[in-house]
């Protein structure tokens, strides 16, 4: 059912221009937005009686998506002067200007059986014009939140000129139980924490799931056999298979290459941990590092040519870049403290990492040559960054201190602003943010 929705959505949204068409209503994200842009989203008009409640719910999700970026500020409906009662009626711009709504999103929704049809328009109030064309999105009522995210994606893209990230999913580790006996299972959710679905049980410890670039398969580490080793799981069917099970070795920290055909991971043998790559179909593995030090947490550049990883070959954990085929590595981190869990941004320009310094943990970013390091967060324990599909937001896990310490997910803008918790039903760690869905 979802597949049908996806293709329908794709066909309709394929027409969306990726850049805003005209000047005035525009947020330049790179300049850093101090003052969020005020917008209004009246409840979507119901064109069938079943559309009434869902029209309200859709408007709430769209508003939450936009305000959640920190780039937009919603004006409450109590401030509205004019009501929008007909999707095709002219907009009373003066009424929206008067309350300083710079952007206005209007929509109408009809429900026909299990089918949901949404139409929306985006207005640049101060220019007195529509921004981009009106769009219609058809999906299933079950997938109504995705339809709202599609609207938000279009609004965000038109105003910022950037691709968006609302209709995306995140795989993570859901955690319960005390620190000494934590129970962990894989879960997948919408980017905003809704629609959680569990992918494994919690009989065995599972760690660090990573989505592929289609959001269809997950690599992760499991103790299912008694020893940590890497597995491949299909999100839809939840079928899984072991990828590496050499006796006397442990494998972990797997991640897909951009082509989806290769996995890069760490293998521990005789106490030494090195990085390997493996062709998923053939199982053929290739050793990429051979040093007596710890080499782990590999992540490909988006073009697949390079791998960033962590190593303690210098005596402490630092970040290095090498060719995807292995060979000599170049150290890129030189600040105080220890650096781990590097992840290349989808844009290719930045590397996010975890840094430990003076007893604190940070999530930070640096350029892929190691320059311009910036720390975005600080706490007792922040760890494991993952990039939003547009490379603007980083999600990570934060653990609180002490015996009752609990792990939960957070997101932060790469400017370091807009730190927000991502609500999950249980504790959460090791997020991996998937692609924008089609």
């Amino acid at each position: 059912m979802m597949i049908r929705v996806l293709s329908t959505l794709f066909a309709l949204l394929g027409a969306i221009p990726s850049f805003a068409q005209n000047g005035p209503l525009r947020i330049e994200i790179t300049e850093g937005v101090i003052e969020p842009l005020p917008f209004a989203v009246p409840d979507l008009m119901a064109e069938t009686s079943e559309g009434f409640k869902i029209g309200q719910d859709l408007a709430r999700v769209i508003a939450a998506d936009l305000t959640g970026t920190g780039l937009f500020r919603e004006l409450p409906s109590s401030a509205f002067i004019s009501q929008v009662s007909n999707f095709d009626a002219p907009i009373q711009y003066a009424d929206w200007k008067a309350i300083n709504a710079q952007a206005l999103v209007t929509g109408a929704v009809s429900v026909q059986g299990s089918k949901l049809i949404l139409k929306f328009r985006l207005y640049d109030v101060f220019s007195g014009a529509e921004l981009g064309d009106g769009l219609q999105i058809v999906g299933s009522t079950d997938g109504w939140r995705r339809i709202a995210h599609k609207v938000s994606d279009a609004v965000y893209s038109r105003i910022t000129g950037e691709s968006a990230y609302f209709d995306s999913r995140v795989v993570y580790v859901s955690e319960t139980g005390p620190k000494s006996e934590r129970r962990k299972r894989l879960a997948i959710m919408d980017y905003d924490g809704a629609n959680v679905k569990y992918l494994t049980g919690s009989e065995a410890i599972v760690l660090a799931p990573r989505l592929d670039s289609n959001g269809e398969r997950v690599l992760y580490t499991s103790y299912e056999s008694g020893f940590p080793s890497i597995y491949l799981l299909d999100v839809e069917s939840v079928e899984r298979r072991s990828l590496e099970s050499q006796k006397g070795s442990m494998s972990f920290a797997p991640r897909f290459a951009p082509d989806g055909q290769t996995v890069v991971y760490s293998l521990s043998q005789g106490g030494n941990t090195d990085i390997y790559s493996m062709n998923i179909a053939s199982g053929q593995a290739k050793r990429l590092t051979s040093a007596p030090s710890i080499e782990t947490a590999p992540s490909y550049s988006p073009n697949g040519n390079q791998i960033v990883f962590e190593s303690d070959r210098s005596g402490s954990q630092q970040l290095y870049v090498m060719s995807a085929g292995g060979g000599e590595a170049r150290r890129i981190s030189f600040g105080d403290g220890r650096y781990g869990t590097p992840v290349w941004s989808p844009r290719g320009d930045l590397i996010a990492f975890t840094k430990q310094s003076k007893g604190r943990f940070h999530i930070g970013v640096m350029r892929n040559d190691g320059s311009e390091e910036r720390l975005l967060t600080a706490s007792f324990l922040d760890e494991g960054p993952t990039w939003s599909p547009n490379g603007r937001v980083i999600m990570f896990a934060r653990e609180t201190q002490g015996a009752s310490g609990r792990t939960s997910l957070y997101s932060v803008d790469i400017t370091g602003r807009n730190l927000r918790p991502v609500r999950t039903p249980e504790g959460g760690s090791d997020p991996s943010w998937g692609p924008l869905q089609q």
């Binding site: 410890i205 941990t273 782990t296 947490a297």
Partner: protein, 167 residues
């Protein structure tokens, strides 16, 4: 902490002498041992509880280190003697780290620690084929406070007996 290590060291030395003396079960052993002997309990030198409690099943490591401390070597000396006396047992050596590190690094660090203990036991004569190593990284702390007193006990390798006497 230090007190506990000293205690375990003494136990290891005692077990060494106990194991090398002959005829432990012929009735000629000391009265005290005879009175307290319960098969399978920590008073039974061939039992797993004895290994865990009297020999000492774990060694501790310094921050980010996998080098054995002198105290750690003494514990492992005791383990080696016990394992060579009780040859039907196999073991898994678990490596652990404290919570002050990233997940992947701690898995690799735990593997180093477990292997360090394994290599030492091999050097003391325990057959490599009887031992497997396993790292839990920071996934299974035994102490849950976020202070050095807990971290010190979590940075450990634990020798877990995995199969009993097969006859």
């Amino acid at each position: 902490m230090h007190l506990k290590i000293s205690f375990l060291m003494v136990c290891a030395v005692i077990s060494l002498t106990a194991c090398t003396s002959s005829n432990r079960f012929d009735g000629s052993s000391t009265n005290q041992a005879a009175e307290n002997f319960i098969p399978g309990s920590a008073s039974d030198p061939e039992s797993v509880p004895y290994f865990q409690q009297k020999v000492g099943d774990r060694v501790l490591f310094e921050v980010n280190q996998s080098t054995l401390t002198p105290e750690g070597r003494i514990i492992l000396d005791g383990q080696a003697i016990w394992l060579m006396t009780n040859t039907d047992y196999t073991v898994i050596i678990e490596g652990h780290a404290d919570e002050q590190g990233t997940r992947e690094y701690n898995l690799a660090l735990g593997a180093r620690r477990a292997d360090e203990a394994r290599s030492y036991l091999v050097s003391r004569g325990v057959s490599a084929g009887r031992m497997q190593v396993l790292s839990y990284g920071k996934e299974r702390p035994i102490e849950v406070c976020s202070e050095e007193s807990c971290y010190a006990r979590n940075r450990r390798s634990v020798t877990v007996i995995t199969s009993g006497l097969t006859g």
